[in-house]
Amino acid sequence: MEQIELMNILRNSGYNIDVFEGIDCVTCLVKKEDLYDFMKFLKTDEKLKFNMIVDVTAVDYPEDRPRFEIVYHVYSIDNNIRLRIKLKVEENDSLESVTSLWKGAEWLEREVFDMFGITFNNHPDLRRILMNEDFKYYPLRKDFPLQGIEES
């Protein structure tokens, strides 16, 4: 599948999304409310078949409101094409988990929770994955000092 074809399918999908050609793959911006439905569409659509989740991560822009940008990368094994999905969330927002669609998203979402403190609804096991359980901070936030905070 070519990028143009993918972009056309996405633009005609009926979701309120902004599709453009990114540096290395097609990128689309979605609304927080549409996320789960849109991801389900990507996974289940007969033509697209995005059957693999590559990455779930976040970026902290401390000056911006909303502050965080969540980035999903999905890959279609059948079509050999990649897609990036981005959305903005605020510090206390919680997102819908996509673990029920892709099992592989479970640990990726746990990592986002551990490092940025963004919570996911309907996640089967949302615990810290890298830091110890009694750690109170979210170390990949820009306002967290590299050498940590004492007593932690």
């Binding site: 890298l130 830091m131 110890n132 590299l146 050498q147 940590g148 932690s152």
Partner: protein, 157 residues
Amino acid sequence: MGIESHLGIITTSLDKVVNWARKNSLWPMTFGLACCALEMMVAASARHDIARFGAEVFRGSPRQSDLLIVPGTLTKKMAPYVIKLYNQMPEPKWVIAYGACACSGGLFNTYNVVQGVDKIIPVDVYVAGCPPKPEALLRAIVMLRAKIEKESLKDRV
């Protein structure tokens, strides 16, 4: 020592005999944390041959080991388990901090790395390097042997 050898006996101190036995059978624990562990494995290979110093038997259990080589970056999440392993080792036991990270945190002066193994357990020999060559581990073992020779049973059960 030795003047009675024609009688088939020798006289010496218990410290000397015990230390001689201990220093010649320093069994390390099979344990690795990061890239330094690979250098430690090389030290056990034929080229470097850690067996020359009686330390070739890498035990799979802390209960059978005398020597804990801590090779690599000790993260705060791993620290409780290293303490547990150390406590599981029977006396007498020794610790080598192998590599810059184990000595001082090394390059990782960050929130998730313990700044030196000596923050959590006592260390006998420090080995500098990132990673140290296998020869450095051999030298550490030679230094540890020298240290064991000077020990007394009174100080260590």
